[in-house]
């Protein structure tokens, strides 16, 4: 995908792209920030950074790779500027919603436990896991992170093991 030279067309294309990636941006933000208010702020920062960065996209890599690089760089910037949620804050984020039907509630709680477990992963493993959960293959993950396929595979194995342990701990 190339972005047009005409300014209005460029703006429209950029906005469309951001809207297209918005749900992925929200999920990425939840993987880096468990606190709801800060998560929303992070998601907005990511969306804005993507919108601004798209004018610099010249096909140097796939659009997907380019956008994920921007999203994850903004996330690291967010971690640098704000302290991380403490363990107590992470534990408090389990949603207790008595208004939903039981099936939805179970699904929501499972999602929340997954989000909390991902937030507890060390940063290098979290980045790999977040991209894998978005169905990127190892080569694509390597393109985003700047790692070789073998390096990605090693990190992914460690991330899967750690995530399993965290989810098992959450079930107990």
């Amino acid at each position: 995908m190339q972005f047009g030279d005409n300014k209005d067309m460029l703006n429209d294309q950029r906005e469309q792209t951001v809207q297209q990636y918005w749900s992925r941006i929200l999920r990425a933000a939840s993987g880096y920030e468990a606190r709801p208010a800060m998560r929303d702020e992070l998601a907005q920062d990511m969306a804005l950074a993507v919108w601004r960065s798209l004018s610099g996209f010249g096909g140097q890599c796939s659009l997907n790779t380019y956008i994920y690089r921007v999203i994850h760089n903004v996330a690291v910037d967010h971690i640098r500027r704000h302290s991380r949620a403490t363990e107590c804050e992470l534990a408090d984020e389990i949603v207790d919603d008595n208004n939903s039907p039981e099936g939805d509630l179970i699904q929501a709680r499972r999602q929340q436990k997954l989000i909390i477990a991902v937030n507890r992963l060390p940063l290098s493993l979290r980045q790999v896991m977040l991209l894998k959960l978005e169905d990127l293959n190892n080569t694509e993950i390597g393109d985003v992170l700047g790692l070789s396929d073998s390096n990605v595979a090693v990190r992914l194995n460690r991330a899967k093991q750690k995530l399993s342990d965290l989810l098992a701990g959450a079930e107990q």
Binding site: W22, S23, V74, R80, L114, P122, E134, V144
Partner: protein
């Protein structure tokens, strides 16, 4: 973790409830406001550093109030160094290209947090040195002058403020060190 389990987790991850579309215009407008607020802050910080410098020069030229000169000297040195370091970090942060691979950008993120740790360490050290100088000055003043009672509360207030500042800088430095540890994991 088996492949099926990971596939299941991916589906769970991606099945989060849909949220309304983002209002980009509002976001762009917020970004512009934040930009102008930052420019305003830079102008105010510059003027404050210049104002403290001007006050220091006029007090030194008048030459009659050693205590005031000491305070202003400390404030000028601390504010100038902090101002330069903060703006160096701001510039570095602006230049950080968001479309780099994480392997390329992580060292720069780490460098920025190390700069922050340095700033808090310098602030703590400068405040500690100034506190010790002030306490030495109080002690000499007390031994030399008979009547210091009227100024005692000012001295004590100054020391309390400086000790609180030391605690604040130590706390900020420790928070930044925890962040550095997170980024390096």
């Amino acid at each position: 973790m088996k492949k099926d389990e990971l596939t299941g987790l991916s589906e769970l991850w991606q099945s989060a409830p849909e949220k309304p579309a983002i209002a980009l215009d509002k976001l762009k407008s917020r970004h512009k406001k934040q930009f102008w607020l930052m420019m305003f802050n830079i102008v105010v910080e510059t003027l404050l550093v210049m104002a403290v410098g001007y006050l220091l020069i006029t007090t030194l030229r008048a030459g009659d109030n050693l205590m005031q000169s000491l305070w202003l000297g400390f404030a000028f040195i601390w504010s100038s160094v902090t101002y330069l370091l903060i703006n160096r970090s701001r510039l570095h942060s602006f230049r950080l290209l968001r479309n780099k691979t994480l392997a390329e950008s992580m060292p720069e993120h780490i460098s920025l947090i190390k700069q922050e740790i340095l700033r808090w360490q310098l602030s703590w050290t400068a405040t500690l040195i100034f506190t010790l100088v002030l306490m030495f000055y109080f002690t000499v003043d007390y031994l030399v002058k008979d009547d210091i009672g009227a100024y005692m509360y000012r001295y004590l207030l100054a020391v309390v403020i400086l000790l609180l500042a030391l605690l604040f800088f130590r706390h900020k430095k420790r928070t930044a060190e925890k962040i550095l540890k997170s980024l390096s994991e």
